[in-house]
Symmetry: C2
Subunit: 513 residues, 2 copies
């Protein structure tokens, strides 16, 4: 009993939480209750009409089935249901008359028509473009079978058909009425908010990625949820993931939103909902770059912290400017304002260019000159020492890069012990038999240790990794710059949306004030 | 009439096409027809029982609603419906008895209970984890209202409830029977095939990306569908897009597959369908890298073709080896085989390392030494000439990088004309007023031309872009290497799947042969 009481308490708490976080759900449930009361009230009141009571089930059924969360969904379902019933009713009446003519073959004719209609309707609803009307086909089929069968039983085709249709219309009217009149929930508004929210999510992710990268925050152990692309509560990750994953939600909301009449802030026939989805798609195109940048953090091969610091200010500036642009665009989407006169991208382009120039000047940091084939340019260590004290750290880096490369995706062991194992392996190449053990432990440099038959080779390879790790810095930077380049595309689709949806012009507004 | 005839012809053709590409759809439609005939047959036969005929609608309704494409979906809907009806029936009976006790307040009590039940059921079904049972709640609500209302009218609570339940059970039995016995369509099998197909898709994309990159195939005009992440028929793009986008399909199929009994090749209770989704997620994690590489092709800033050729063989080898690994894994998933003894990743790791070493040796190609701050190392042009005849081409490259940077996302104009405009702008800085014109035309270097007040600056910037364009080559390579690194994760999750799903061991098979 204590157990049961706990469960009840838990359910109550989570129900309360849900209600608090989205009060619309409570309101919607209450609306559903009101609609049901209304429809049963009608049935009680009209008790003198025997038929209405008898077919009352259709009205109740319609209310329950048609009553959807958003207005658009309710309207589209109601219409589907109405059309399906009407056309099936007509067809069933015609078929019923025909089957009467068939005399003693009546049953067979009915069977055959049921099969044919069932086949055609099911086949048609599987056609991709018909998916939106899936529900209509279902209703069509139900109605047809019902009218044919009950008509056969009672002989009252016409009566059944009209009664059924009237009660379904009644049910649909009540649901739509209640849904629209009491605190309407619009799919279009949801879509609008979703798109605006995605902007914030990507902006947060972008800032997080850049900061984590600069502060060299690494994942001790990358959550396996990220590796298999499942939802996770990592802030950086969930920001862009929700933007990337919202495709299907957006499509669903759009398909409902197009059914909705002009309302609230969307006073316009044929409101361009499609363009919201398009803006969101352009945002997604940017989000993929954030994703790739996040990949640089998740990666095993990491650029050394010292080198990242060289570009710290520039990277940070680009990141924050880009996030600012995203936030501003998101805000404009939310407020439904057009862009101002000044170029919103000016500052971020400026910052990106500074970053590019900086990279250019310091690009020697990204490569390993020792191995260049143009051998007549010996590396002057003193120069680099001036800049970074690389000489002192070079020994450290050599190991660092290897140990970082070992930051295995599963990282079941501390890197330290790996280094020891590698060392042991090089001294004693007979260890190679131990293959299974290695394969489980490391992902990337595994087979290198098998090749390594001389310490010489190993050192060269360790340098290879050093330069590989530095190149990831170049990658990160390129991706960030590409992100900035993609912003233009986003701004373009935003402007198209602003044009089509007749967003307010901030300049005109100021004038009128 | 000609118009109508054309339409009819078009519809027929597309229907035929659909049937040919997926014959299961035809079979499914025929099954639907058979199930409908069976259920109406039962109703005809049992005509002596008046009640059965009267409530026949429930059986028909159940068949139409429960009959879904895959077995898993049918079973889960059938069970939802059964449970919903049963529990609602019980509750309604109890409430009906209670309301009788209320005497003259009966109507009010009924109304209140309808409201409360409607509210609770609707609220519960909005709870995220309850989404799978959404249909059950709906049926619950319908049943409750129907039994209460019709019970009130006729006073036969018990009679109505049992009749309804029996007929729904009959309908569900017929649908499940027909669906399972005649050519069953399993959601699990669909899931299995989808995952295997994703492997091929990503492999094709990867090869396509690497080849396009090496052959310097650029998009004259990037399809705006790619920029807004909509479906497009670009082969490279659709390959990874379908893998990335299949998340929701996979989740849906999995939720159905878990309902299916052991069958065919999946003879095992609690078959690990979840792991298929996990493998697919790991594949998606790899696909994001392909996506980022594709981004390098889509980008405005492109590495010069000559430099790409330097790494041609290595890039190509890594690309084809990685694609081979993907294909092999996909094949293994399809055939349900475990991996062999040898390390499937050995060759691709080897190739990746060669690429890395090559990059290391040639990394001077990626940077622009002229701008290095360590000024005492003047660039020896002759050396590079030995390698690439860079000296001769340097003038060309200088323009090339700029003109490539102009390969605007929308590229409404030929790059040529842009260069001319830039030149004009530099000579005559007063042109800056023409801002709108510029903003529409270019995306990336737009504001540079406004800054440019001396040809000197412009040349420096053009070099900046030259080095930026070379760095994208480093980016492409890094991404490819990161892709290879992520393969390990994919192999791991594949092995987990193989373990849990008890895939065949190729070695054991050979022994038994």
């Amino acid at each position: 009993i204590v157990e049961l009481w706990k469960n009840v308490k838990r359910v109550t708490v989570s129900a309360w939480e849900m209600g608090r976080s989205d009060p619309r759900k409570i309101i919607f449930s209450a609306k559903m209750g009101v609609a049901l009361i209304l429809i049963s009230l009608l049935i009680f009141l009209k008790q003198p009409f025997q038929d209405v009571g008898r077919y009352s089930v259709w009205a109740i059924l319609t209310v329950v089935v048609v009553f959807e969360f958003s207005i658009g969904a309710t309207l589209s379902k109601g219409l589907n249901r109405g059309l399906g019933t009407l056309s099936a009713g007509g067809l069933a009446l015609a078929m019923g008359m025909l089957s009467k003519l068939a005399g003693e073959w009546e049953e067979i004719v009915i069977m055959v028509t049921i099969f044919i209609i069932g086949f055609c309707a099911t086949y048609a609803k599987l056609y991709p473009t018909m998916k939106a009307y899936e529900y209509g086909f279902r209703v069509f089929l139900i109605t047809y079978c019902y009218i044919i069968v009950s008509g056969y039983r009672t002989g009252e085709f016409f009566h059944t058909a009209t009664n059924r249709f009237l009660l379904i219309a009644l049910g649909a009217a009540v649901s739509v009425g209640v849904n629209v009149c009491i605190y309407p929930i619009w799919a279009g508004e949801d879509l609008h908010n979703l798109v605006a929210k995605n902007f914030t999510g990507v902006a947060t992710s972008l800032e997080g990625v850049v900061n984590n990268y600069l502060n060299c925050i690494e994942y001790e152990r990358v959550p396996s949820k990220i590796l298999t692309y499942q939802a996770s509560d990592d802030v950086v990750y969930s920001g862009y993931r929700s933007a990337v994953e919202s495709t299907s939600t957006e499509d669903a909301l759009m398909s409902f939103a197009v059914w909705e009449p002009p309302h609230g802030r969307y006073r316009m026939l044929r409101y361009p909902w499609k363009n919201y989805v398009k803006v969101s798609g352009a945002l997604r195109h940017c989000a993929f770059m954030v994703m790739a940048m996040h990949g640089c953090i998740l990666s095993e091969i990491q650029a050394p912290a010292e080198k990242r610091q060289v570009f710290r200010n520039e990277l940070k500036k680009v990141g924050s400017e880009a996030a600012k642009v995203l936030r501003e665009l998101g805000d404009k989407v939310k407020k439904m304002e057009k862009l101002g006169e000044e170029d919103i991208l000016f500052e971020v382009h400026e910052a990106a260019e500074e970053l590019q120039q900086r990279i250019d000047k310091k690009s020697f940091l990204l490569v390993n000159a020792d191995l260049w084939e143009i051998g007549n340019r010996p590396r002057n260590e003193n120069d680099s020492q001036d800049l970074l004290n690389m000489d002192e750290e070079s020994h450290f880096l050599e190991y660092k890069s290897l140990s970082e490369a070992v930051l295995d995706l599963r990282s079941v062991r501390v890197p330290k012990s790996w280094e020891e194992t590698v060392a042991a392996d090089i001294i004693n190449p007979a260890n190679v038999t131990d293959e299974k053990y290695f394969r489980k432990q490391t992902s990337w440099p595994a087979h290198i240790s098998f090749q390594a038959d001389a310490i010489m080779t190993k050192q060269e390879e360790s340098k290879t990794y050093e330069s590989a790790s530095s190149l990831t810095l170049a990658t990160f930077t390129s991706l960030l710059i590409e992100f900035v380049a993609r912003l233009q595309n986003l701004v373009d689709s935003f402007e198209e949306l602003g044009e089509k949806a007749k967003f307010k012009d901030p300049l005109e507004q100021q004038e009128t004030v």
